[in-house]
Structure formats: C-alpha cells, structure tokens
Subunit: 253 residues, 2 copies
Amino acid sequence: MLARQRHQEILNRVGRAGAVRVAELARWLNVAEETIRRDLEKLDGEGKLIRTHGGAMPLPEDRREVPFDVRRAKHSAEKERIGAAAARFVGEGDIIALDASSTVYCLARALPDWPLTVLTNSMEVATLLMSRPRIQVVSTGGMLDVASQSFVGSFAEEALSRLHIGKLFLSSKGVDLVRGLSEAADEHARLKRRMMDLADETYLLADHSKFGVKSVVFFADLKDVDMVITDRGVDPAVLPELDRHHVRSEIAE
Amino acid sequence: MLARQRHQEILNRVGRAGAVRVAELARWLNVAEETIRRDLEKLDGEGKLIRTHGGAMPLPEDRREVPFDVRRAKHSAEKERIGAAAARFVGEGDIIALDASSTVYCLARALPDWPLTVLTNSMEVATLLMSRPRIQVVSTGGMLDVASQSFVGSFAEEALSRLHIGKLFLSSKGVDLVRGLSEAADEHARLKRRMMDLADETYLLADHSKFGVKSVVFFADLKDVDMVITDRGVDPAVLPELDRHHVRSEIAE
DNA sequence: ACCGAATATGCCCGATTATGCCCGAAATGT
DNA sequence: ACATTTCGGGCATAATCGGGCATATTCGGT
C-alpha cells in the first residue's frame, strides 16, 4: 500500500470514528507503529488532524477551513528545502522575524513545534501560524499592500522600532555580490532594511535564481547578512565569494 | 479512549448538564478519579471550564471567548441587517475604524464601493477588504489573538494613537444602560476604549441580545456612544432611555 | 540498465506521558 | 463538632514517544 493511500485511509478513519489510536491503525494497516506516528506527524503538520498522545483526533469543526484561500503559488522544491534548512536555525523560545516572501513562507510552514515568538508583516504568514498554538504571532500592522498581502509603510516601520528581533529571516528580489540586496518596491526595501537594523542576526533565504540579479532599490550590503541559505543550483563561484565577505552560507539539501 | 477524547467528553457533559461531579465522570468514563481531577485541572487551566470542589461547572455564558465562525453564525440575519444599516453612515473618503466582532464584519461586507480608508485590528476584516480595490486597509498590528483572529495588546493600542479615526464602528459583548459597554477580555476592552478615545464619532452595533448583558470588563459609558444601531427585537424601553442619554439610535429594518 | 540519492519503513532504547494507588490534609455536610 | 467526601502530592507502572540507525524501495540522471 502506498504511503499516500495510507494517509487517506487514516484521515477517513479519524473523520468517521472521531479518534483513533496509533496501535489500532498499525494493526489495521499492517505497518509498524513508528510508521503511523510519522504519518500522524505529517498530517498534523499539514493541519489535517490533531495528534494526541496515543493517537489522533479530527480537527475541531470551527477550524476546518480557513476562510481565505490558502492556495500556495508554486513552492518550488528548492524553496521548500531552503525553508526546511532555515528552520533548523530556529531555537526554542526564539524571537524571530519573517518577512513577506514566498521562500520565507515555506520556512513558516517548516517551523519547529516549540514555543516561539514570530514577528511578521505578512498576512499569509500570520494566518498560517494562527493554527500553531505554541507560536505567539505579532504583526507590525501598517498599510495593507494587496499585491504582497503584507503590511508596509512608515507606520509598519516605526512599529518595528519598539521591538526586539533575535533572528531575522528574509528574502529579496535580487542578490548581487557587489551591490547587495535589492527589491522592486521602495516600501518593501525600507521595511526589510529596518528589520535588519533591529535584528541580532540576519538569515538570507535566496534560491539560486536570485543571485546576480539587480532589482530596483538596493537596501543592504551582503556583509550585513550573517548567513545565506540557498540551494544546489547556485553558481559555485558564489560561495567562496560569500566567504570572502565573512558571510556564512549553507546549501539546503 | 484517548485523553483528548475524554477531555472533549467532559466539556460536552459539563456544557449540557451545567455541572458534573468527579465521581460521576470517573464512572462514566471508566477511569480513576485522580485522572478526572487531572483532566479538570488542565481544562480549568485552559479556561474551558471552572473547577469546583467535587466537580466542575461550565464558564458563565458571557465570559466565553466564542470562536469567530460560531459568533458569525449566531443571529446572523439581524447582524446582516445591522451591518447594512450601519454602512449607510459611511461617506465617500471617510476614515473609519472597524473592531473585531462578527457584527462589524457584516458591516465590512456591506461597505459601499467608494474610496475609503479602513483601520482595523481584525484579520478577517482585513482579509475581506483586501479584495476591494478602492479601499485602503490599515491594520493596528500587535499580538495575534487566535480566538478572535485579531490584534490586541499594548502594541496595538499604542499604534492607534498615531492615527486619526473619523467614525468608529464597534460592537461589544454586553450593553447595559447603567454600566455601559462590557467585554469578556480586558485586552479587547482596552483596545476598544482606545479606539473610542480617538474617534470623532462612535457607532455601536448591537443586536437585541446584547442589551442588559453585563460581561466582565466595562470599558465605556453609553453616553460616549454617538449612535446605536440595533434590530427590531430590542426591548422597547431601551430606545427612550438612550434618548435620555442623548444617544441617537436606529433600528435596522 | 546502472548507480547514487532520496524516501519509506522497521527496530531498538532511553525519555516522556498517562494513569492508578495510597495517605495525610482540606473541605463539606449534618 | 464530627463523619464523610474530596483533594493534592508522592510514587509506581505501563503505554507511548522521539531519535538514531539499518534496510529496503523508489527516483533521477546518465
């Protein structure tokens, strides 16, 4: 039986019975309990059921469908991997900031399940993390930019200054080794700059297509970044160059 | 039976019976009383019921933070009418504020299609209005409260002070002619108070079931309200009383 | 078709959680 | 005031979990 098939089967049974136990499922589906646990972990992570000690329960009625479309534009596999790799730098109790970008959204989905405070200007990230009980979400507020579904403007920028950020995870339209990070819109650039100024550490999430690209507004030097997380498609010449700027880097496998 | 399942069952019985005893629950659910005690301790800690000696009781009706979808469903016809009536007070180019309540959400849906600036602390209102190109949405930001899907906290409160609000539309858990408006949670109460202080005019949207109800935290007098919009089910004695306080009122037909 | 990588699965073991039992202390009812 | 019920904490036990490791299967690229 295929793993996916098993997942469906589990969801079916959870939905009908109201609750299932790991041992039950293991017997019923002829797999080890470890496998069932991994299945439940995955399904819980996807928000399709709720894991409990000893088994799982269906979602409470009132949270089954989030009103907004949780449609996700193409998460290229690279972005997923970069997000997962970045998630490993998040420690328990950390105060982290996430910007409004699709790569960072992937990180949000991969965040570990422990107490965290997450500051974000992205509506989508906020909505996503609302279903994670151990995560405290804080939003900058500000003018709502429809295109990026995020808050921008001087209001958002000044709101930031009252906060502390441990680790900032951001992305940018372009990453040039000489000119640094760039964005297409000034308002987004300014906000990212502000976030970097306030953060103890800055992690740049950039898939290989971002390197060498210069967008319109430059907002930071590469040397202001503490670590770059990218994917295997990156030009091999880039990593030594980062090293030369004392920027750590990691390739998400 | 899973622990979580038992918790659900306990909440069910408490909710339906009004009160339960530890011994009863232990017998019904086939576990030791110690287990039930631990369950009750946990549920009480989560604010889902109130422990008493020998058993537990449900939360008083008016201090329950009902999830948004549920609130929206309740009295929806009246709320729709009230929202539509309130929308007629919104003029072109107005700067209005909307709080996080289901009635005001109905107003948001009924907003006229002309240029507007809308300040809100509700994620759902912000999401809804994102699809309205002529409406500029501004959010307070702050800590995200999951139950109400809205931003609260001192952060949100202070963010407000930098803004101007023309007309504020809000609702509240309870409206008492003598004691005024009340909310179940302090953080919501404080924010609403702050909004009222900053607004030129305050419109209270309250269906008839709100009148005479006293929740936990009072945050404003009726005389601070400029206009009350309610429905036909309201006690006829209420309107003259409002008049006596120089509060205008309207019944949404 | 072949090989290395990614994925899925199973097994083992120390850590965590859930539960039940016991007993002295606190609360309750008569 | 006294008998009874209920509570809370300490302890023991069993179920469950999570992570590390090994093996098998599938996938992807040549």
